[in-house]
């Protein structure tokens, strides 16, 4: 490589004694800040370009999660089955929670499986940044890939537990109907909500390490407020004599909305033609939460993009 004489001479002449600020020099040569947050649309495009990484990372985590156990991937089916058995034993038989609810097993299982999906995503999302600091400090990628991968990992598990749920629901006496075609729509909306919620807690968890200790309490409270093993209408208005709006507000919380919608689809006696009257705004609430969480989640996470490496 030869150099223009002037450049070499200039180099030899030595020091610039700091007359030009380095920022100006950088600007003149078109250098950019090494760590800068891309504009939001650019960020989303970069994220899309990383889709293969996100998918592979999610699948890899799922595979490695069970690789040390003897039964291996079988646990993906066994875990929801065992959970279902425990919930039924506890709430259905011992506590007798289902006396006033028709087909209580299906009611309970639907609630539990749907709620677990959101709960697990939120719990995993909160750790997605803080437990991957070494990866963040080693490689370049849009950081939202991590919470996204964690959500997709849970989605992969959900596909299996949904299959288990459908089999169990049929065993309890429900017949598949055309309504079942709506199942993927509900799950898709719930996945949107989960992605958004995962992104929000990921940013929070990146700086507030204590969130991980607090989350179990938060999700448990959420579980009780979402009518997973009781009917909100019956208990809140019927037994506790609280005003109707309390029940309505509880129905509008995202977990309860998704659960109620899924129950309407899966359980025949839960549909209006059988005299059940679920709050009419349930599906609107689901759509709202999905759109709102997804949009806000990405924006909120992106705002802090360049700071995740600090821990």
């Amino acid at each position: 490589m030869s150099q223009p004489e002037s450049a070499v001479a200039d180099a030899q002449a030595g020091g610039r004694s700091g007359q030009e600020p380095l920022a100006k020099l950088a600007q003149r040569y078109g250098l950019r800040r090494a760590i800068a947050r891309p504009r939001f649309p650019v960020y989303l495009r970069q994220l899309w370009e990383r889709r293969h990484f996100i998918l592979t990372y999610a699948t890899s985590r799922n595979v490695s999660k069970y690789s040390s156990s003897t039964l291996g991937q079988l646990w993906q089916v066994l875990t929801p089955l065992l959970n279902a058995a425990i919930y039924f034993l506890m709430f259905g038989l011992i506590l007798g929670g289902g006396k006033d609810i028709e087909n209580y097993p299906a009611f309970l299982l639907t609630g539990m499986f749907i709620f677990t999906y959101t709960q697990r995503t939120v719990t995993a999302g909160a750790k997605s940044i803080s437990s991957n600091l070494s990866l963040i400090r080693a490689l370049h990628f849009p950081r939202a890939s991590l919470p996204l991968a964690y959500t997709i990992q849970e989605l992969q598990q959900l596909v299996i537990s949904m299959a288990v749920l459908l089999v169990l629901v049929v065993i309890t006496g429900e017949m598949p109907t055309w309504f079942w075609l709506m199942i993927p729509v509900v799950l898709l909306l719930q996945t949107f909500f989960n992605i958004g919620a995962g992104l929000i807690v990921a940013r929070l968890g990146a700086t507030m390490r204590d969130l991980n200790q607090l989350l179990p309490f938060i999700t448990r409270t959420w579980l009780y407020a979402s009518g997973v093993f009781f009917s909100i209408q019956d208990k809140v208005v019927g037994s506790a004599h609280l005003p109707q709006w309390v029940a309505d507000v509880m129905y509008l919380n995202p977990a309860a909305s998704f659960i109620e919608w899924m129950r309407e689809i899966l359980i025949a006696t839960y549909r209006p033609e059988f005299g059940h009257h679920p709050p009419p705004m349930v599906w609107m609430s689901c759509v709202f939460w999905a759109v709102f969480a997804l949009g806000f989640g990405f924006w909120y996470f992106w705002r802090s993009e360049e700071r995740y490496g600090r821990g």
Binding site: M1, S2, Q3, P4, S6, A7, V8, D10, A11, Q12, A13, G14, G15, R16, Q19, E20, P21, L22, A23, L25, A26, R28, Y29, G30, L31, R32, R33, A34, I35, E49, R50, H52, F53, T56, Y57, R61, V63, S64, S67, S68, N132, S134, L135, I136, R137, A138, L139, H140, F141, M208, R209, D210, L211, Q213, L214, E306, R307, G309, R310, G311
Partner: protein, 288 residues
């Protein structure tokens, strides 16, 4: 080259007092501002301007601190960090300019901020103060953090390649090359946890070095494994260096630095102690 010349003359044209070809503000006594003549001193590719890096480390919690939700809640409400959290001021005001064609060695004792500086140049650690300006995206050579021990070598190769940002077509193309280079043969079907440490290191190096970069940052202890693989990987590093525009190399082996670098920066407790010709700096480093 013609392009570069053109660009330079243009630059010279628009301002007489221009290009500090040597834009280093030298904080430490340094004999001469000369740069070796056999090395292209072209356009700046990396500018580090009064860089400070502070990061947080989380120590192991004692049982009393870990504890209950009430503690955690009060801490969050009071916006306190965890008691065992420490802030480390790893880089304290580093300034230098690297040019196209530079191979810069970074030396210093353990904990002098070498790896942190590399991560900041790569844009992986946000500056506390100051800034790093780069041309293109510098990348750190190494994918270890993305790999999973429980997975087979095969899955790890694919995962590692995607983590470095390759497309599926590139992964397909590079896959066999990586397997061949690492020399792990049929072990590629087994989980990485079953590999010997040498085999693991070979596979990690093979994956990391499968991609080409504009600005490359290499963090020590790369050439591992038996003697044969060492030779192979040294050749690979040389090849990568030739393709890359600017290279930063952190290593404890001073011989490697002297052989491969045209400029050495000596970091001491987060500050530049010396910056210049490899022989001079390394001699001073050995003395001090």
């Amino acid at each position: 080259m013609a392009e570069l010349t053109k660009e330079l003359s243009q630059v010279k044209g628009d301002k007489p007092a221009v290009p500090g070809k040597d834009a280093k503000k030298r904080p430490a006594p340094e004999p001469s501002g000369k740069r070796p003549l056999d090395v292209p001193t072209g356009t700046p590719t990396v500018i580090v301007d009064d860089l400070h890096i502070v990061y947080r480390v989380y120590g192991a919690a004692t049982d009393a601190e870990k504890g209950n939700a009430v503690n955690a809640l009060t801490r969050i409400l009071k916006r306190q960090g965890r008691p065992q959290m420490k802030e480390v001021h790893a880089v304290k005001g580093v300034t230098f300019v690297a040019y196209h064609g530079d191979a810069i060695g970074i030396v210093g004792r353990n904990g002098s901020g070498k790896s942190t500086l590399l991560r900041a140049i790569a844009g992986l650690l946000p500056p506390h103060k100051g800034a790093v300006y780069t041309d293109g995206q510098p990348s750190l050579l190494g994918v270890n953090a993305a790999l999973m021990r429980e997975l087979t070598g095969e899955r790890n190769i694919v995962l590692g390649c995607y983590a470095m940002g390759m497309t599926p077509a590139e992964v397909k193309e590079k896959y066999q090359e990586i397997v061949d280079f690492s020399g792990i043969d049929e072990f590629v079907q087994l989980p990485m946890s079953t590999y010997s440490s040498g085999m693991g290191a070979r596979l990690r190096f093979a994956i990391s070095s499968a991609k080409t970069h504009d600005v490359l940052l290499i963090d020590e202890a790369l050439a591992t494994g038996d003697r044969e693989f060492r030779k192979k990987s040294e050749a690979r590093i040389r090849q990568i260096r030739e393709q890359a525009g600017t290279v930063f190399l952190v290593a404890h082996d001073l011989r490697v630095i002297e052989e491969t670098c045209n400029r050495v920066i000596w970091l001491h407790k987060g500050k530049i102690r010396m910056d210049g010709d490899p022989k001079e700096v390394i001699a001073a480093y050995n003395k001090g």
